[in-house]
Subunit: 145 residues, 3 copies
């Protein structure tokens, strides 16, 4: 059976692509916040973004988008590998749609809540995503042990 | 042969899951250090962690755990992909147990040494992990060239 | 057909290994800049790098290499997973050589341009890499929809 016919390959690809696009969107929000604030991190960046140079971004208005993005970077790549491993065990398409879908929705809400400073819902969304990932890890261990 | 019956799939899943759990544990140490220090990064975070707001975390006590976590984020996702690629080449289970196991132990020691400020052992643990990853890269290149 | 005989497996492994080596090289540039500047981040690091301790790296000379590295960390792991997924769909070796090769060259130029403060070419290189990744995402969606 070709790998791409593994039952959960379709939800894996769809939510994998959506997650990477979502990560990229947050990076774009950060870059755009820098552009609007006319703040650049490197002196040479004034060539692509007319503005003043701020050596220390900590002081800049872009910090919120940057933190939301960093949280994605800390979590999404490892999730993508775990989701692929679960798909390779031959798990059902339904399991893929549920686990990967819940994770994607939770991470998207996490970003929306982060950018708009909505607590405690950001923390709730974070833990729902972690719960989906924990479920995947349990499924993986059951499959190999 | 189903993919999940590839010889090294079992050690890949076991050490992959353990590495992601270890990364999550360091993230938890960071969050917990923030909670204990009653320092939050975003004003709205006082809703989940009663404490004062510190715009610039660089000044906070949480910096050590955060750096240990960042080092994981810089290294572990790429390792997981390389380890999966080596597994897909059909390498032996023994190779999987050794390469992935050495990497996992080295990264765990790296974290322990980082959190407890133990040098030069932290650097030694880092390079042992890098050596295991270099071995995987050599195996991969041998397999395809 | 063994997975390692998938048409694009060879370019995937070659450019995957090269990308991880490139990331590591930037990390080494950062570490080396710290060593030369005699600046260490953790007090205990003076045991491996004789120098003075700077709690806040933002002030240090290593910031440029660190940002180039962080940009890699934000982008390369997710790319590796997408490239592997495209390979698993059974795409042609030619597609692999082109998409993965363009991405690798673009990211290498991005790093070179970042370390040497060359704008707007750094931004151009970044977007060429993103374009290659976008192409992979389109191929993936076509393959599963």
């Amino acid at each position: 059976m070709p790998i791409s016919e593994l039952p959960a390959f379709q939800p894996l690809v769809i939510f994998g692509v959506l997650l990477v696009l979502k990560m990229g969107a947050v990076a774009f929000v950060t870059a755009n916040a820098r552009r609007k604030a006319k703040v650049v991190l490197n002196p040479e960046d004034t060539k692509v973004n007319p503005g003043s140079h701020a050596e220390n971004e900590e002081a800049a208005v872009t910090l919120r988008a940057k933190r939301a993005h960093l949280n994605d970077v800390e979590n999404i790549p490892a999730f993508l590998v775990l989701a692929l491993l679960m798909t390779l065990t031959g798990c059902s398409a339904t399991a893929g749609w549920i686990y990967f879908g819940v994770y994607f929705v939770a991470r998207t809400l996490h970003t929306v809540f982060y950018l708009n400073a909505v607590q405690p819902w950001r923390t709730v969304a974070f833990f729902v995503g972690q719960l989906a990932q924990l479920g995947i890890m349990v499924q993986l261990l059951i499959a190999v042990l």
